[in-house]
């Protein structure tokens, strides 16, 4: 299903309740009142549709890209929060328990406490949830704690929001509209349960064991290799990533996304290159072989398998080398004859992962390998500084390179600069693949 169709589906879900309210044909009240009701209906529909924009929900993420889905999830939630926050203040009609004769709530806005309190809770929780997500790093929450609060908070907002609209809403008093709200809530909660309950349950049946943890570079970078602990096949494509959980049960929310660095054709073992950066990664070097692990995946669209481009350029910064290792290893193992180039940026020589293997791949596979270092050692053949538009022009400035496929992975600033430089060289954006693990 193409991305455009998914956008249309999203629009349908987000606008359906407003359309149903419109179709009821009730006499409109003042513009402010209709705006207030409309804002509340639209906000709740967007909030419920947010549950389908989860990075883990593969039906959507694999077609659009996990990072794009997550970015849209963030942005749309902010818009919904604004609508939800302003909606109660827009009403101008008298607020009172609606009398029996005002069947269509034409003259009174419901203010029964039983109808209002669920809305008040959702009204308080939603902006809090959005602000906590925006300031997640600054607030210093552990990832697992934040994830639990975000999932739980979202479920409460959805539940209380629907309860509020069913009890207080002028348009939601219509039985058909009530059923639509309940159906949308059901789909939203199922999507949440899929991620938080069903996926971990499936992982329990596919346990892994840590086979080895070996240094991939001189400086705090490791390659962790897992082996299936039971007889099952993990199908993935080179360049994809998975959510990795080592040493905890699948329900513990302790998994983190890492790119797979092994080649699918190399066998059932799966490897990840991980740099010590955060809560979990700081402990990577001390993980013992034999430790139980679980994977949620594969995810991601950073794969060259579906592309028929005449050449492949891999451009990596730091630990962004992980998916490139998987792609290069797979291309070599499969005997792919297309020309390949790898531009690999690091601060110093000690950060270069799998330096010897990369040199061997360059020799045996013919990959044009270029190291770019900010602090190069004396005598090392490499480019100096960052991956600049000049370096890219030197390597990919010919007309033939416009048809190549470019795969980018690294710090967001590097990927944006490289993408703009490639577009300036005439490479169409459809030939540029990138995946971010930071969505802001």
């Amino acid at each position: 299903m193409p991305a455009g169709l998914l956008i249309l589906l999203y629009l349908f879900a987000a606008l359906l309740p407003l359309g149903l309210a419109w179709a009821q044909g009730l006499e409109p009240r003042s513009i402010a009142d209709e705006l207030a009701s409309g804002a509340g209906i639209l906000a709740l529909a967007v909030i419920l549709a947010e549950f389908l924009l989860l990075g883990r929900y593969r039906f959507v993420a694999r077609r659009v890209g996990t990072d794009i889905v997550m970015r849209m999830h963030q942005l749309l939630a902010r818009g919904a929060a604004i609508l939800a926050v302003v909606h109660p203040f827009l009403y101008t009609t008298r607020r009172a328990p609606a009398p029996d004769w005002d069947v269509n709530r034409q003259f009174f806005v419901m203010n029964d406490f039983a109808a209002i309190w669920p809305g008040m809770i959702a009204w308080l929780l939603l902006p809090a949830l959005v602000l906590m997500a925006i300031g997640r790093n600054a607030l210093g929450y552990r990832y697992e704690t934040w994830r639990l609060m975000h999932g739980l908070g979202a479920a409460l907002i959805a539940g209380f929001g629907v309860l509020h609209t069913l009890r207080a809403g002028r348009y939601s008093a219509d039985p058909a509209m009530g059923y639509v709200w309940l159906a949308l809530l059901g789909i939203a909660l199922f999507a949440l349960a899929y991620v938080y309950v069903l996926t971990p349950l499936a992982q329990l049946r596919r346990p892994w064991t840590v086979a080895s943890v070996t240094p991939a570079a001189d400086e705090r970078t490791w390659e962790v290799t897992l082996r299936p602990a039971r007889d099952f096949t993990f199908r993935y494509r080179a360049g994809q990533f998975a959510w990795l959980n080592i040493g905890h049960l699948p329900f513990s929310l302790s998994d983190n996304p890492f790119s797979i660095s092994s080649a699918p054709s190399a066998g059932p073992e799966v490897s990840f290159i991980i740099k010590e950066l955060g809560d979990f990664t700081r402990t990577i070097g001390s993980i013992q072989p034999g430790t139980r692990a679980y994977l949620d995946g594969p995810h991601g669209h950073l794969t060259v398998a579906d592309h028929k481009a005449p050449g492949i350029a891999l451009i990596a910064g730091g630990v962004g080398i992980a998916p490139m290792m998987g792609i290069l290893r797979e291309l070599h193992a499969k005997g792919d004859t297309r020309p390949t180039a790898l531009i690999y940026g690091n601060r110093s020589e000690s950060q270069i992962a799998h330096r010897d293997e990369l040199a061997r791949l360059a020799r045996e596979h013919g990959t044009r390998l270029t190291h770019v270092l900010c602090e190069p050692p004396a005598g090392m053949a490499c480019e100096l500084g960052l991956i600049t538009p000049e370096i890219l022009r030197d390597h990919f400035g010919n007309a033939e390179h416009r048809a190549w496929l470019y795969v980018l992975c690294g710090p967001p600033a590097m990927m944006e600069a490289v993408e703009e430089a490639l577009i300036a060289l005439g490479v169409p954006s459809s030939n540029i693949l990138s995946e971010r693990f930071s969505y802001d």
Binding site: L15, L18, W22, G38, L83
Partner: protein, 38 residues
Amino acid sequence: MTEWLSRLPLRRRIALVYAALNALGLLALLGFALRGLF
């Protein structure tokens, strides 16, 4: 149009889709609120 879109970086394409979704949502909301005028 296609040529122009193909020269947009990913971040701007996301911003474009987001702006389009917002515009459609706002249009629907205004249409709903102002329907009494027509």
